[in-house]
């Protein structure tokens, strides 16, 4: 099944709403707590990235019996050095963002840790597309 959401740039008070909604869906689908948890952790990080660093974007989820695919697309400004951004603890978040409890520099690292396949298409001045794949086959549904 297919669901999609808009994410507003800078709307920190609603950061996490998309991942909560998706969590509700996944629980109704009986995917099992282990899968639900890693999908939601990764999705939450991606959602916060869009809110904190981009000009806004969309999140699209495709749920199939064997896999969950999530595409997070923003409208820029892009990540100049992706390798650096993937490093744990590295963050470009402003003091203001950090004071709200975000921007610890764990985002992309956490996403990588929780996804089975991850593709990131970005660059300075370009939109960022993050494609996260989760396989549901390994680890039984009731795990």
């Amino acid at each position: 099944m297919h669901v999609s959401f808009q994410v507003q740039a800078g709307d920190f008070s609603n950061a996490g709403k998309v991942s909560s909604t998706v969590k509700g869906i996944l629980k109704q689908l009986n995917l099992g707590p282990v899968h639900v948890k890693r999908i939601i952790v990764a999705l939450y990080e991606a959602e916060v990235n869009v809110v904190a660093h981009s000009y806004g974007g969309t999140i699209t989820c495709e749920v199939e019996p064997e896999s969950v695919d999530i595409l997070v697309c923003d409208t820029g400004p892009g990540i100049p050095d992706l390798d650096l951004a993937m490093t744990e603890g590295w963050s470009t978040a402003t003091t203001e963002v950090r004071e709200m409890g975000f921007g610890a520099g764990m985002g992309l690292a956490n996403i990588r840790k929780n996804t089975d396949r991850l593709a990131i298409d970005t660059g300075e001045g370009k939109p960022t597309k993050i494609h996260m794949c989760f396989d549901l086959a390994n680890g039984a549904a009731h795990a």
């Binding site: 689908l29 995917l31 948890k37 952790v41 019996p65």
Partner: protein, 454 residues
Amino acid sequence: MGQRMRDQPFHHTLMVRKDLCQGCTHCMKRCPTEAIRITGGKAQVDPERCVDCGQCMAVCPHNAIVIEQNDFQQIFHYKYRVAILPTLLIGQFEDDVSEEAMVDALHNIGFTHVHYAESGVDILKTLGKKISVYADQHPVVSSYCPAVVRLIQLRYPALLPNVNLMRTPAQIAALYARVVLQSEGIDSEDIGVFYITPCAAKYAQIKTPGSATSGLIQGGLNLDYVFNLMQAYLAQHPNRKGEELSRWERPAITGPAFLWSLTKGESAMMQGRTLSVDEVHNVIEFLELVEDDRHKNLDFLELRACDTGCTGGILTPRNRFLATERIKHHAATLPKELHEEDKARILSFSDQLIRNLKTDRIVAKHSLQLDRDVTMAIRKLEKVKRITEVLPGIDCGLCGCPTCRSLAEDIAKANASIRRCVVLKLTDPHGLNNLAKIWGEVIQKDQKPSTSEV
């Protein structure tokens, strides 16, 4: 034991009296787990979703939701009859009933031994120098409130490893009472331990075979019933004093333990950063957050299904705020530490107690899934989405489901027909006929679909 627990369905103690139920939807709207539907004009509780929190019973204007009654006479099957009473019992009485008079009344209505449930806190503290907790995952979630534990089993299985596996104070008090009696040479068969329960959830736990109380507690007694027996005794024997009252052993307990069942009573005694949430809707809101796993700075979570803690239990006769105040007032008169001889007595049984302090791991019982099979569940969820778009979205409840969304889910699960929607029936009867053909006409128990045909 673990395997047996997995297969055991929950025992539920709340029942709908069909003769009194008016089908008014109050309970359905209040139920935190959407377990109630109105079918054929009467409330029906889904046993797969109910967590025995008692909100429905509290809100019913017709007293149509009742708790299973237990036979008080069952205590007399035992030669030694131990009452495990929650400290909140004293809060049910006015100030003119002293603790001594209360203990005296309990003995006179039939008990041979009286222990406070919360004295288990003092036992645990004496054995370990602090209140120990035991869980596989951080933060530790209290297992004190059985309605909350059921909620986690049904809706937040990812949090089961966070649930404290240390026995609750009442269970420890029951264990201790039994161990002490056995050490006096009394046959285990002759000992009946009874918990006086302020709520449906604790009673349901005692009645569920293979639950944490099995073997420790022989039965639950509804607090309101015991309260009535005690009040009757007190009314008939108004002038008992001196020797008559003081001949009973005063149940030992410290001030901090006395407060345990109140909101913040438990978290106050825990190490690290703690947090207390009471009332089941608040607990659900909070569990959603904990489940997202972003609160690693917290160490211990006290979660209670009732407002103000156990004084808010549905079987407590007195106003919960007044009861709470009396409990705090009484606790202030109690010592901070147990007497040395009480401690020594507990420590002399430490071997028997320590090996029995933990419960089995708790297993999941799913209730949110639309289907066990993921492929089917996806299909049903897509159906739910499409049906929800057609429904009016005003959650009027006239169909007998708490929300339009829950009606859509019931239709997708083939438990209801869209013909139940009163708004569609009035605004677009022809369209409704077509929709019913598309999504199915269900069902045996559904309310006479033939007569509503247009």
